[in-house]
Amino acid sequence: MEQLLAVWVDDLAIEQPDGSTLRHTIALSDALEAMCPFTEVVRRGLFVMPLRGPSRFFGGDDAVLAMVRQCVLDVVGVEVKLGVAEGLFCAELAAHREVLVPRGASDAFRRAQPLEVLGRKDLATTCQRLGLHTLGAFADLEPARVAERFNQHALVLHRVARGELTELESQRDRRLARRLAQLRGESDLFEEQQGFFGQRGAEDDRAEAAARRVRHRLGAEAIVVANLHGGRGPEDRATLVPWGSPATVVRDHAPWPGRLAAPSPATTLSHPVPLQLRDEANRPVVLSARGVLSAAPTAVIFSSPLRREIVWFAGPWPLVERWWARHRRRAHVQMVLATGEALLVVAESSRWWLVGIYD
């Protein structure tokens, strides 16, 4: 899991009546975004950014910590509490305790925390009466035992304690992100996602109730919704996220050179299937470092008995991304098989993968 740097600014946690809190929050998030574009305002007073990228760029974790500290001092004029750990839940705890939890130690760090950090007093008291004092002890309970004694909400907390969920729902303030965008005059960006939960009609309520039933029947990951965003291949441009998880803002105004043109495959494999391309002499077809095929492919082999003749192919269309890293060289090839099926395959790391079926 990714190491996150949590930035906790006490003075911004409580909103002042003069509106200075939100102004400072915007100024600080802009300043932090200049250091790392993936900075996120989680709620009032809490900012978070991934540590790895900035750390490489600025020359080490300590350099990043010093820069962020200086940045908060310059922009808001107060001291900041910093913490590093894996996952938002642990990162925030680390910030409150001002510690840097080394990679891989977040599990132990989380398990050592007192139960109060889950923010449920009744749960903490009951567990203490049962002789459970730390998150670790709570996490070791069987989920079924937890479900017997507590309500649904406690099961979610239990998953957080076990590390299956990386953040508490109460950690995020979803309205804050929207208010900040409105203050910045970007509120139209949020209209797109309002379709889901804003301006609700009776249909939306009915759909939500049905979705909840399916989730109850099959589990949280079973029912998903689609998000479109930037990317080159159709396999990069969409993500399916569990229904009910916070929607992300779609900001795709960037050009994507080499983006594959429509039509896109109706099936886009979330787990690409390895395959082999063969030429007329039954030699494997490979993609050279310059993005050229070694020979025209005439057959595709999915697994040893399953072989199909290729009647037409187009490409390769190289995806020029991170050209400095040779192993990221990818190229798309479209093909039509003798059976009439059309496929989209991609060459990556000198291997071929099936990523889409035009079915």
Binding site: A209, P263, G315, V336, G340, A342, D359
Partner: protein, 219 residues
Amino acid sequence: MFAFSPTRPSLSPELLARVRPVSLAKTRTVPLGNPWRALVPDGALRRGATVVVEAPIGLGGLSLALSLLSEASTNGHWAAVVGVDDPGVVAMAELGVDLRRVLFVPRPRGAWAESAADLLDGVDLVLVRPPSRPGHQAARRLMDRVRERGTVLVALSEPRAPWPLPADLFFRVTQAEWVTSSRLDARYLTVHVSGRGEMARGSEHVVVVPNRRGAAEAR
């Protein structure tokens, strides 16, 4: 209250002559986009209907079925897609489906019929691809539920594992041909459309799904 009373109130003949159904059959439809609008009666899907799309594997059945959702979803209807394990979301957007109102259950495992039934209560269109040959019993129960809830079921099947019951509307892909230039351009699907009543004999049409922009259109 009347539903539970042992005898329903009898209406006087003169009143009976003046009452009419609360909603006309024509208003109880879900809109269809191009090119399907021109190919079915009333240019829309009747609520309570089951639509079966049958195509040999890999020959455009999924694209066809997804294109049936597009007009409804852009008009504010919710849709659900059950049993399509790796939906091509970008292709759906190109077909004109409004993704903000689509729920997916990609891997319902054994519970595809139950998941579809759950969703029928809440959305207007359910596209279902049974993972194996659908049973007679499950299909019957699902179709009854569709009729009762006034939604539309789009069932995607293959000739090898056909939908076991007659449908209200039946799209059968008999041929698929790609038009190519330096890339895949468009696919011409020969589709046999049939149904109940006046549609019983059926007719054959050639449609383009998808075209160069990824949408569906008449040839």
